[in-house]
């Protein structure tokens, strides 16, 4: 059934373009069927999953590689499915109103649905490699969605940036997951977590896996791509960049943390990065003028918050994290939808050009107030419940110095969160006299149709409902947290815990947040004046540019198209590797005699002189003649040795090559090229000399290496008695190796055939071209 649900996503996505041609915007209703069915199934399976009987399916894919399509729906997966598919249904409803009629809606709906299916795959996967496959599919679909307005150069750049950052992180994660899988002996996620591997390899694997989680969830220092991703249409931001995809990293960390949090460095790293992200995101959000960017940095901040809770592997914090996941999904998606409505109705989302919208679209205003208040952590809303649980978890202590750091970070982060939540509502809806005076009084903006607002309103209602009656969600949260970490004890969720430390902390946060919001101008000025720290986005651009430039240089240097350079590289490698090996046992010394007679010695001397002449000659013709001299000298050696047949062959071959050379030389300049670049000349000489040394040593060594008697002795001994021939060469050709000769004749026949073909082709080219 799980597989069928994934299949339904794929099928509907494939059909979407065709559907949109017929139904126009109705395509979104068709697409919504898939996530709706998923929610229904998840709810139906939820009781069993809560009781610890998760639904699971396995389909063989590439089993020998550890790749099998294993899916599992446990209680935590139910929570994630509700987020992914539940919000998905709402987003599709929202899309139908957000977009005007345009021709590429079908493509958009298809990609969005493909994304929803991929994300569903991520949370259902019970095999780390399958998880990775779906993980990268979300990256690719997200890339297509960010770059949907592909006429805009900025959208394309942002899409590519998001893709490169998350795909790179994903590959690092893959390496980590494979190391973990090898260490654990299984790639099944549930089995790996039930019996987690330990030791150095497991630590390395777990930390590498964090690379993927951090990039995907936009943690410092990878947070910049999420801001860029706001180039996407607003429904995409609401869905991918707040409610689902960016939570994939948090999801993975949440799964792994209970098993690996105690490995060296994990907890410190995750909490440290989480705190840094929460603070940086909140701080940056306070200076944004674009409402969408404000929310994007808010999301970065909240993702850090979730990382602190779900990544530490502390049971109570895990439970608080589950609450926050749900709460954030509800309020942040609602806020993004509100931004989309504002943008749609008022034509801008720059808070310096918006004024008076609160009066003109009161329903939207109230939805925004509820969602933002939940984000700020005000009672009696869901966000408040989540924050209380979070403070509560870390107030107990017991995890060393990390606890206070996490607590302090969360408190400070919450102050910032309160301030930017207030800034959001103020920026979008307040009456701003100076803005109104400048002519941007929002007079053209009127309230959106009820159906456009409905999805956001529904999420706001959920926020209030669970805030007032948190026990609604308690069952889900308890079961989900227990599915992550069996050590989690079921607890109740409550709005009112009495006057405890957590409540005082919340009060403090609210007071500080109000103060911060009141001094918003000073904060903005301060941020403008502070020297901007090394920006990760700049680092990314520097890296991409550096790669391009570096590659350019390297190419120019090593790949200049020059044949001598190519050849020199190969030859130098030969000299560098085998020559030392050959010389390792000392220079091989020839045993036996060097020359058997004075005549031999003289001929050898002549050959040597001719060889040196070849190298020194300036004219091509002279070089060829010297080369011929070498060959003829060798032929004389054969004669001296008593092998006239061989000498004859050598003479023929030598003469023939000389003739060919002369024929070719007619088309070449008379002299060799003279190189004016001294260093190049010296380099060539050095290479040539070294190769000469190599060949010399090689011949010496090869001559020494004989281990068995040469075959020639046997032939000499057998030629007369067995074949009745005195000429050994002839005997070999026609008798001992008769079949070889037969083969050679066959080869000659084939060659003749080829030559005949060439001749014919020549004739054809002159005129009578045949048809193909």
């Amino acid at each position: 059934m799980l597989l069928a649900l994934l299949g339904l996503h794929a099928v509907l996505a494939a059909a979407a373009p065709a559907v949109s041609r017929r139904l126009g915007r109705g395509v979104f209703a068709v697409c919504a069927v898939a996530p709706a069915a998923t929610v229904a199934y998840a709810l139906a399976r939820a009781p069993a999953a809560f009781d610890g009987a998760p639904a699971s399916e396995t389909v063989a894919w590439a089993g020998r590689l550890g790749l099998d399509l294993q899916l599992r729906l446990d209680a935590f997966a139910v929570l994630m499915v509700l987020l992914v598919s539940g919000i998905g249904v709402l987003i599709f409803a929202y899309c139908a109103w957000y977009f005007g009629p345009r021709p590429d809606l079908g493509r958009f709906a298809a990609t969005l649905l493909a994304f929803a299916g991929s994300m569903l795959g991520v949370v259902l996967a019970d095999n780390v490699l399958v998880l990775y496959v779906f993980w990268e599919l979300t990256t690719v679909t997200s890339y297509l969605l960010i770059g949907f307005d592909h006429e805009k150069g900025s959208a394309r750049a942002a899409a590519l940036q998001g893709l490169l950052v998350t795909a790179a992180g994903g590959l690092v994660m893959l390496a980590g997951l494979v190391v973990l899988g090898e260490a654990a002996g299984t790639y099944t996620l549930s089995a790996m977590l039930a019996d987690p591997p330990a030791g150095g390899a497991a630590t390395a694997g777990a930390l590498l896996a964090l690379g993927g989680a951090f990039t995907k969830s936009a943690q410092v220092p990878f947070h910049f791509w999420l801001a860029g991703a706001m180039a996407a249409p607003t429904p995409v931001s609401a869905y991918l960049h707040s409610a689902t995809m960016v939570k994939a990293g948090v999801y993975l960390v949440a799964r792994l943390a209970p098993a690996f949090a105690l490995l060296g460095g994990w907890r410190e790293l995750v909490v440290g990065v989480g705190v840094a992200t929460m603070l940086l995101g909140g701080w940056r959000a306070l200076r944004q003028h674009d409402l969408k960017l404000l929310l994007a940095y808010g999301t970065v901040s909240q993702l850090g918050f979730m990382m602190i809770l779900l990544g530490a592997g502390v049971p109570e914090a895990t439970r608080a994290g589950a609450v926050l996941l749900l709460a954030h999904g509800a309020f942040k998606a609602a806020l993004f939808m509100v931004v989309g409505i504002v943008d749609h109705q008022a034509g801008t989302r720059d808070l310096r050009r918006l004024s008076g919208l609160g009066r003109r679209m009161p329903a939207t205003f109230w939805v925004a107030v509820v969602a933002a208040a939940s984000m700020a952590g005000l009672p009696p809303l869901f966000g408040f419940v989540a924050k209380e649980a979070a403070f509560e978890a870390y107030l107990h202590g017991g995890i060393g110095p990390i606890g206070p750091i996490a607590l302090g970070g969360m408190a400070l982060g919450s102050v910032l969160t309160f301030a930017y939540s207030a800034r959001f509502v103020w920026g979008a809806f307040a009456d701003k006299p100076d803005v109104a005076r400048a002519g941007h009084d929002g007079a053209g903006a009127h309230a959106p149709p009820a159906a456009f607002l409905a999805p956001a309103a529904l999420l706001a209602v959920v926020t209030v409902a669970i805030g007032v009656l948190p026990s609604f969600a308690a069952g889900l949260v308890n079961a989900a947290a227990a599915a992550l970490d069996p050590a989690v004890e079921p607890g109740t969720l409550a709005l009112w815990h009495g006057f405890n430390l957590a409540l005082w902390l919340s009060a403090l946060v609210i007071v500080a947040g109000v103060a911060l919001f009141a001094r918003r101008r000073e904060v903005e000025h301060l941020q403008a004046r502070l020297p901007s720290m090394v920006d990760a986005a700049q680092a990314y651009h520097g890296l991409v540019k550096g790669l391009n430039r570096g590659a350019d240089r390297v190419t120019g240097l090593v790949q200049n198209g020059s044949l001598p350079v190519y050849l020199g590289t190969i030859l130098l490698t030969v000299v560098a590797l085998p020559l030392p090996a050959l010389l390792s046992g000392g220079l091989p010394t020839p045993d036996g005699v060097i020359a058997e007679s004075l005549l031999q010695l003289a001929v050898i001397g002549g050959v040597a002189v001719a060889a040196i002449g070849t190298v020194l000659a300036r004219r091509r013709f002279a070089a060829v003649l010297f080369l011929g001299g070498v060959g003829y000298g060798v032929a004389i050696l054969f004669v001296v040795q008593g092998a006239p047949d061989l000498a004859l062959t050598q003479l023929l071959v030598e003469t023939l090559s000389l003739v060919v050379f002369v024929l070719v030389l007619r088309h070449l300049p008379e002299n060799f090229e003279v190189h004016h670049w001294r260093l190049g000349q010296a380099f060539r000489r050095a290479v040539a000399g070294l190769v000469g040394v190599f060949v010399f040593v090689f011949v010496l060594a090869a001559g020494q290496a004989r281990t068995s008697p040469p075959v020639s002795e046997a032939y000499l001994a057998q030629a007369l008695p067995e074949a009745g021939g005195r000429n050994v060469v002839n005997v070999i050709l026609v008798d001992f190796r008769g079949f070889d000769t037969l083969g050679e004749i066959t080869v000659l026949a084939v060659a003749a055939l080829g030559i005949a073909g060439l001749v014919r082709a020549r004739r054809r080219e002159r005129g009578d071209e045949e048809p193909a």
């Binding site: 390496a175 190419t555 190519y566 190969i570 010389l583 390792s584 090689f698 082709a761």
Partner: protein
């Protein structure tokens, strides 16, 4: 009478022709195609002559050995070629192409038969006819999993190259009679290389395939780029062959044998000077490194790939690599495994260099064909990971990788050939802008191949990459896999740049509207087949391929 009685009865050695039956098929069809082309207008007569000889031979075999299957097949083939010649006697190129395609298909069929016997599914007399599993042809040829798998890879590559070439060669006016015979001869050399069990055979096979490829690379003889490609390939290839021969000589010197397995055994029990053994291996690495395009012996690759006719480039990139890696594997992972302490560090470094250099150099290329040439270098580096793993998972990973790479490479070069046909020029990335909107199907296919080359999950390329990465990690080469990951990230950048240009950028203003693409049937079929194989064995049913490769990951010893 007395004289005759004195002559002892002729001892015809029992030659296991069946061991090289795929090569015989390829070579025979190549000769036939050459003969029919040479015969010109008399080709029908020539074909009938061939039919007559073949039928007589088949009849003789049937009578003398009382076998029916083999002679039957030979007779059928002879009749088939005559029928084809009779039908298309006025269209010699088409006839050649058809024969070549049938030759590749026939070789795949014979190899499948061999596979049946090898894997034990086919037993009895028929099995023995086609496969012997131990010493064959005097220990010259091995019929083992690696050989059989690679033969199929090479023949599939040929089978796709034929239809890709037809219209392309016609358009560029380079459609000459030798084209298909040369393709078949090159494939003969490749399959022979993959099954060589002796260094002498390795050398002969390399020469057979190289000589054919030198000519094919320069087939567009009026194109300066093509000439340059052929010349560079030839000169550098000649040097590397010589170095390989040096290495073989040293191996023989140290071990007293040119048989690969025997040399390996002699190496492992060596107590004499190690220096010469190391030098021998280094020279062999140079020779194989050149054929497989490993850094620093890769420099010819981009120049040659760019200059050669595009379908030939695809064939070279895919099939040569598969064959050379098979022989490389047989020598080092198969025979020299006991000496791995000495050569794995070298190949480890070369693998890292190859992956990084290939990816980095590809980034700045604007010519798509050249970019794919560099990317081929990077892919050789990924294959090397499975190589240095020196285990069964590594060998099967290499086999899977090479088969999948074959289709990725042929497919992408095939689409390029299609585009070049229309534009009558090499394709730069800028020329691809807006292609996705004008010609969505070819653009989509190219995108599929490129995503697969990038190793995006869900594509065949991912399965391939994962297979070798996993083998590497299993063997403890985690650092190398990390380098591979870095290289993949860089590589993803330039593959995706092409996709962005096709789908997200518009045709620049002022560029005249191009003529609509008119893909020939053959090209469409070749590209579609590649895509279908990739989706089938990469995305939907990878376990079939992975299991097969795992069965194949054995060497005869």
């Amino acid at each position: 009478m007395t004289l005759l009685a004195q002559i002892p009865p002729l001892q015809i050695p029992d030659i296991a022709w069946s061991a090289i039956s795929p090569e015989l098929v390829l070579f025979g069809v190549g000769i036939l195609a050459l003969l029919l082309d040479t015969a010109g207008p008399q080709r029908l007569q020539a074909s009938f002559l061939v039919f007559g000889f073949a039928a007589a031979g088949a009849g003789y075999i049937a009578l003398s050995t009382e076998q029916s299957v083999l002679p039957g097949l030979v007779g059928l083939a002879a009749l088939g070629q005559f029928a084809l010649t009779a039908i298309w006697r006025d269209r010699p190129r088409l006839l050649s192409a058809l024969l070549a395609a049938l030759g590749f298909a026939g070789a795949i069929g014979v190899t499948t038969w061999q596979w049946g016997a090898y894997s034990g599914r086919l037993v009895g007399a028929d099995a023995a006819t086609f496969v012997g599993t131990d010493s064959l042809l005097g220990g010259m040829v091995a019929v083992d999993g690696v050989a059989l798998f690679t033969r199929v890879t090479v023949c599939l590559a040929g089978l796709v190259t034929v239809p890709l070439s037809f219209a392309y060669a016609e358009e560029r006016r380079i459609h000459r009679g030798e084209y298909y015979p040369l393709l078949l001869f090159a494939a003969t050399g490749m399959t022979l290389l993959a099954s060589s069990a002796d260094f002498i055979m390795v050398f002969i096979a390399i020469e057979v395939l190289s000589l054919s490829l030198y000519i094919l690379a320069g087939f567009a003889k009026r194109d300066l780029n093509s000439q340059e490609a052929a010349l560079k390939y030839f000169l550098l290839g000649a040097f590397s062959s010589a170095l390989l021969l040096y290495g073989i000589a040293l191996v023989y010197g140290v071990t007293g044998s040119t048989n690969i397995a025997e040399a390996g055994r002699a190496f492992s029990s060596l107590d004499a000077p190690q220096g010469m053994a190391v030098a021998a291996m280094a020279l062999l690495i140079v020779g194989f490194g050149f054929k497989t395009a490993i850094v620093p012996f890769h420099m010819w690759t981009p120049d040659v790939y760019q200059g050669a006719p595009t379908p030939i480039t695809g064939f070279m990139a895919a099939a040569t690599k598969a064959a050379a890696f098979a022989a490389f594997l047989r020598v080092f992972v198969g025979a020299f495994a006991p000496l791995q302490w000495s050569w794995t560090p070298v190949l480890w470094v070369l693998a890292a260099l190859t992956m990084l250099a290939g990816a980095i150099l590809a980034v700045v290329q604007n010519d798509v064909k050249r970019m794919l040439g560099y990317s081929a270098v990077a892919h050789a580096g990924y294959v090397l990971i499975g190589f240095v793993a020196v285990n069964r998972a590594g060998v099967s990973g290499v086999l899977v990788y090479l088969l999948i790479y074959t289709f990725m490479s042929l497919g992408s070069f095939g689409v390029l050939a299609l585009l070049e046909r229309r534009n009558h020029k090499a394709m730069a990335i800028d020329d691809l802008r807006g292609l996705g909107r004008r010609d969505p199907v070819p653009a989509g296919m190219l995108a599929l191949f490129l995503l697969s080359l990038a190793g995006i999950p869900g594509t065949a390329g991912f399965v391939a990459k994962f297979a070798v990465f996993r083998a590497g990690i299993e063997a403890g080469h985690a650092a190398l896999v990390v380098i591979a990951v870095v290289s993949s990230v860089i590589a993803a950048f330039f593959y995706i740049r092409v996709i962005v240009a096709m789908f997200m950028e518009d045709v620049p203003e002022g560029v005249a509207a191009e003529a609509p693409l008119a893909p020939s049937t053959g090209m469409s079929a070749g590209i579609a087949f590649s895509a279908a194989v990739m989706v089938a064995f990469g995305t939907v049913l990878p376990f079939l391929l992975v299991d097969l490769a795992d069965q194949a990951a054995t060497f005869v010893s």
